[in-house]
């Protein structure tokens, strides 16, 4: 699951430049996650991504949240309850706080990154019997999983040429992970509730192609990630959009 999470994270981290706001507070995307078992895709979990505005005493923030829960039929075999959250400054669109709380088949872990920009992040990792605090030195353009996910939505890829590559950096498990992503081109796919949609297709090889994946973003102002396909050494899987609410455009 961890490897899949990393891969999906990397799939989403891609940039060619900023465009108009592709999402707004109130947006909710729901996906169905499947894993390939003996050639047949078996649905395992539901993944949801939400954007909500919250206010502190001095600021307006965006709360970006990703939840993953196994379908009830799987709960007795391998129960997953993952929560990824990032709080953004609503004006600058830069992260202030990232939290990750995972429960995967009884394995639990909590991670917290407090952005102390311009160059450090205070990291707190809580495992079953141990809490670790660190100050991490990171690049100015290194972001957590969720931040990267939503930043891609605001990237301008409308006029990108096939074959264009972009290297970027993601902070995951207290490490900066550089990844090069390739823009494949446009492709029309069928999306639940939307019919056939023209999409931008991106390719993401990880660790020299040991892990790899594709992501499809709708070729419109919302740039909704409608489908992900990934391959890992022990199989393959996909995420497909089930529903989308509160779209910005």
């Amino acid at each position: 699951m961890k490897k899949v999470t990393i891969l999906l994270t990397l799939l989403l981290a891609f940039s060619f430049g900023f465009s108009q706001q592709a999402f707004k507070s109130g947006e909710k995307l729901v996906y169905s996650a499947s894993y390939n078992m003996s050639g047949l895709m078996t649905e395992l979990a539901q993944v949801s991504m939400e954007v909500n505005r919250i206010n502190t005493s001095k600021s307006s923030l965006l709360h970006l949240k990703c939840k993953a829960s196994t379908y009830s039929k799987w709960d007795n075999f391998f129960r997953i309850r993952d929560l990824y959250e990032t709080y953004w400054n609503a004006k600058t669109f830069r992260p202030l706080l990232h939290k990750r709380s995972i429960d995967e088949g009884g394995h639990t872990k909590q991670v917290k990154y407090v952005y102390n920009r311009p160059e450090t992040v205070k990291s707190t990792v809580v495992r079953k019997h141990m809490t670790t605090n660190k100050n991490l030195s990171i690049g100015l353009e290194t972001f957590d999983v969720i931040s990267t996910f939503y930043q891609i939505r605001n990237m301008d890829i409308a006029n990108a040429s096939p074959g264009v590559k972009k290297t970027f950096s993601i902070l995951f498990d207290e490490e900066e992970k550089p990844v090069t992503v390739t823009y494949i081109g446009k492709e029309t796919i069928r999306v639940a509730g939307f019919g056939k949609k023209e999409c931008h297709k991106l390719y993401v090889p990880v660790e020299g192609g040991k892990f790899s994946g594709y992501i499809w973003l709708t070729a419109d102002a919302n740039k909704i990630p409608v489908q992900f396909k990934f391959k890992i050494p022990i199989g393959s899987g996909q995420l497909r959009l089930k529903s989308a609410q509160g779209l910005a455009n």
Binding site: L40, Q46, H63, S72, K73, R81, K91, T92, R94, L97
Partner: protein, 118 residues
Amino acid sequence: MRTIFILLGTMAAILAVIMAFLPFGSIALAPALLGLIFGFFALKMGKDKGKGSAKFIIVLSVLAGAIAVVKPLVFKNEVRTDQQFEIREQESRQEAIEELEELENELDELESITDSIQ
């Protein structure tokens, strides 16, 4: 040869039944199909008196296949309401807001830096 088909057919049919009842979706169709094939060959090779086992394998395989097909249509994928997870979510949000309140001064500083850059 017929004994081998019956043995393989029985194993495939039992596996198909088990997988049909477990949440593996339509994956149970694979062993069900194998059970059907082995059962069919065992039936063809058997004499009139010894066809009972082969017929049993075929019936079991068809039953498992039917369950594998019908079950996903009847029982939809759904996420169980998990109060513990909801509480964890609420607590996480509350802790984050408290932490962000404490970071307000740093936030102001960050905004002023960003404004000056822009």
